[in-house]
């Protein structure tokens, strides 16, 4: 369904970088314009922060206030534009653009309100900004986010990497093949062990429940940090390297086709570990060679592991056997 709408759309040739940059430029222009128009009427000391009751409780010079706004907008703006241009994460450009619009609005709108509120004030402590303006800011940010979403348009097609070849193994009838290999992530293991130590220390010294939660978290990090990937006549199995039980099994019957290709942990999955993304999931312990299982359901499951082409060949060979009229 998703695939068909995507391919039906013409290629999205919109200048996404410029679209992403626009709200930040607009917010800076709006702040600059308002300041230029009101500079003569602003007090030397501006009220820049307000309590729940709307009274001013923080002050700054106009230059200081504008500098903070400008730095915030430039930092957020360049981060969003760089990510959108580099397509990191690959399918996240639309969300990033929308978030950028909301951020720019949530910074620019209160900035302009603050400047306008200080116009003609003789005493900055008398300036008021009521709390409901916060709700208005949220509404403006949400509306801007929606606008960004619409302007960014659908994700451009073709940024999913092309599937690799679906190799076969030269396996005469009657012969059995099995493939097995381990893959580990040292950073994940280190993180897990540190979390475990922190959990034990906190559990012993401070709060037992907080410690137990940390220990549980540590186990969830450590278990998939080193995994044995087994591929055989039954399907694909993932199990912890050191413990004799299964983390995950995908039986042959759920597989449509298996390929291998290079997988980028950051670009495609936004990190390491058990990852989920629209249309797929996987165990991504590093970037590089990986098995890509296309399931009968249309979803994808990937496992990054060395020599993935051989693993894919074993599974495809058994799929062929299961489909041939003689059976496996």
């Amino acid at each position: 369904m998703k695939r068909s709408t995507r391919s039906a759309l013409p290629a999205n040739n919109r200048p996404r970088g410029w679209i992403a940059a626009f709200p930040f430029v607009a917010a800076i222009a709006a702040l600059g314009g308002v300041y230029a128009a009101t500079a003569g009427r602003l007090p030397t000391r501006l009220a820049t922060h307000f309590g729940d009751d709307g009274r001013a409780d923080g002050y700054d010079s106009a230059q200081g206030f504008l500098t903070v706004c400008l730095v915030l907008l430039l930092v957020f703006g360049s981060a969003v534009v760089v990510c959108v241009q580099l397509r990191v994460p690959a399918q996240g450009g639309r969300w990033l653009t929308a978030a950028g619009y909301a951020t720019a609005a949530a910074t620019g709108y209160p900035g302009v309100l603050t400047l306008l509120g200080n116009v003609d004030a003789t005493d900055a402590s008398a300036v008021r900004l009521s709390l409901w303006q916060l709700a208005v800011t949220f509404a403006v940010a949400a509306a801007a986010g929606g606008l960004g979403w619409l302007l960014a348009g659908a994700e451009p097609p073709g940024d999913r990497p092309a599937p690799g070849a679906a190799p076969r193994l030269d396996l005469p009838a009657g012969m059995t093949a099995g493939w097995s290999r381990t893959v580990s992530s040292t950073p994940l293991a280190v993180l897990g062990v540190l979390t475990l130590c922190a959990g034990v220390a906190i559990g012993a010294l401070a709060d037992v429940i907080a410690g137990a939660v940390l220990v549980l978290g540590a186990i969830l990090i450590i278990l998939p940090a080193s995994v044995r990937v087994t591929v055989d006549r039954r399907g694909l199995t993932l199990s912890p390297t050191l413990l004799p039980f299964r983390l995950h099994r995908i039986p042959l019957g759920r597989l449509a086709e298996v390929t291998s290709r290079r997988i980028s942990a950051g670009k495609e999955f936004g990190g390491w570990g058990y990852r989920f993304r629209p249309g797929g999931s996987g165990l991504v312990l590093r970037s590089g060679d990986g098995i890509v299982l296309r399931l009968v359901s249309g979803r994808e499951f990937v496992v990054t592991v060395d020599d993935a082409a051989t693993a894919a060949a074993v599974l495809n060979t058994y799929l062929d056997r299961a489909r041939s009229p003689q059976g496996g």
Partner: protein, 119 residues
């Protein structure tokens, strides 16, 4: 690492499993320090008896290619190199050739001993 076994072959299944590991070490797919799958797992994978796998692993241990440790499973030894594994493969071929000629075990050992004495 790829394991291939042919239940129809005259070569014992344990030796076929050992040959898979030897081949993987010989072509560099498996390096020193790498852990082989647990015997029970591999037996399930290939649909063979656990003892068959253990027999294959025992053979690799005797060739000095793997270490068997209680609780740690089978680990490829530091001295196992592609060349060392190929030597094992060469020995396999020598034995097969000699058997084809109808030589007894004693006679095969004598062939090797004569070769060594010449050095």
């Amino acid at each position: 690492m790829l394991f291939r076994v042919d239940p129809g072959s005259s070569v014992p299944l344990g030796d076929q499993i050992a040959a898979s590991v030897r081949g993987a070490i010989a072509d560099g797919t498996v390096a020193a320090g790498e852990r082989l799958p647990a015997a029970r797992e591999l037996a399930g994978s290939l649909g063979v008896n656990v003892h068959t796998v253990l027999r294959g692993y025992q053979r690799l241990k005797e060739e000095g290619l793997i270490e068997l440790r209680r609780g740690r499973g089978a680990v490829v030894t530091g001295t196992a190199s592609p060349a060392r594994a190929r030597l094992g493969e060469t020995a396999e071929r020598l034995i097969a050739e000699a058997r084809k000629l109808g030589l007894s075990d004693e006679e095969i050992v004598r062939v090797v001993r004569v070769g060594l004495a010449g050095r």
